[in-house]
Assembly symmetry: C2
């Protein structure tokens, strides 16, 4: 199971899911190289969280790439559009919400692919989840498989027969299962940040889709939620 | 054949191929929206060329996205590595050269996909070419097909049944055929810029792979090369 010394690029947002994906990469014996993005997001507190998480897990190689998603527009996470609040998990399902960032995971994975190729790594970890998620198309298994196939046709490494694997270890887990997995691997979730629309000072709002899914996950896992919310629900 | 008023995102580097792809998009009745990138390339003269080409073709919506490929490193086009000179087209074949930028077309197409989704466009044009090319894996038809498949799984539009098409109209043309096509569509190639390593002032070097392929293309097409070279070959 262990693949000691093999580098993996881990996409790290500073949220609960990506922190867990990082812990899984470490468990599986990879040397994680974490990649985060500054993309004009309103919730830039997540970059500070990404740094805390990477430090806590002893990551030696981490980069933050600045990219400009504002120039293409089109999302409540980068534009001045209100983030929806107080939705039930039922009302989140089946509809792609305004917080969807066009092609975001495609862009993030493309950068990860470029960096993996430079590092000589053939493994990329992404903490997407298709169960307790917000309805984003680029979080589904069929997207991940299609990206992996494309990656192996896109790159020098792929062409030379060194296949890339896109690892999405959380994709079929519930939020509660993700949290239990992370806790068993020593993830300190108090370091992570999930809120789409934090209060001044950085406290989680407790009311956006991401906060609601997070709270529910801790409840379902039967594990105390270490998050401090601006408006406890 | 014409699809009047339908927007298409056209990746425009300012080189010969992308200028021709833009002309083909216009010929096919699309309203072109051009996207160029500032990515730490040494040959930033190409951005000025992209602007000239877009203006000459009456493009109304053009953006330049600044992206940071230097942070992932690994190419003579973004790092301080010498660009190979004076190679024959024979010596270019079969080997992926140092000028290969990891995952570049994947990253560019990912941004184009995001912008297309915001614009409500389902068509993306890219001037890649698999015949007279420098051996890059992400210029091949199988890569373009895999990207298109992935794009339709990645996006809200794709999921809702509005398929994206990645148009690569030059992919099976020789450089001479590309030039003849462009000339027939009124492309002014004196506005374009292909050189990987221009002389101070911006004159094409005449000796890098890109200059050599360009010169050869004009010769084979029997069309005078309007390019002014620093070192005429």
């Amino acid at each position: 199971m262990t693949e000691a010394g093999k580098k993996a690029v881990v996409l790290l947002s500073g949220g609960l899911d990506s922190a867990t994906a990082l812990a899984v990469a470490v468990r599986d014996g990879f040397e994680p190289c974490t990649m985060s993005f500054r993309y004009g997001q309103r919730h830039s507190h997540e970059l500070a969280a990404a740094e805390r998480v990477a430090n806590a897990m002893g990551v030696k190689n981490s980069i933050v790439v600045t990219i400009d998603l504002r120039s293409i527009g089109g999302s409540a996470l980068t534009d001045d559009i209100d983030v929806p609040k107080d939705r039930t998990t039922h009302s989140m399902s089946g509809v792609i919400p305004i917080t969807y960032v066009p092609a975001r995971n495609t862009i993030f994975l493309s950068y990860a692919l470029g960096w993996a190729e430079v590092l000589g790594s053939h493994d990329i970890f992404i903490g997407v989840n298709a169960v307790d998620y917000s309805g984003y198309p680029d979080c589904r298994p069929e997207f991940i498989e299609a990206f992996e196939r494309m990656a192996n046709l896109a790159t020098k490494e792929g062409v030379e027969g060194h296949s890339f694997t896109i690892h999405a270890p959380l994709i079929n887990m519930t939020k509660a299962e993700i949290i239990r997995t992370g806790v068993s691997l020593g993830v300190d979730y108090s370091l992570t940040h999930s809120c789409y629309d934090p209060a001044p000072g950085g406290l989680a709002c407790g009311r956006c889709d991401s906060c609601i899914l997070r709270k529910r996950g801790f409840e379902d896992a039967g594990i105390p939620d270490p998050t401090e919310y601006a408006e406890p629900g």
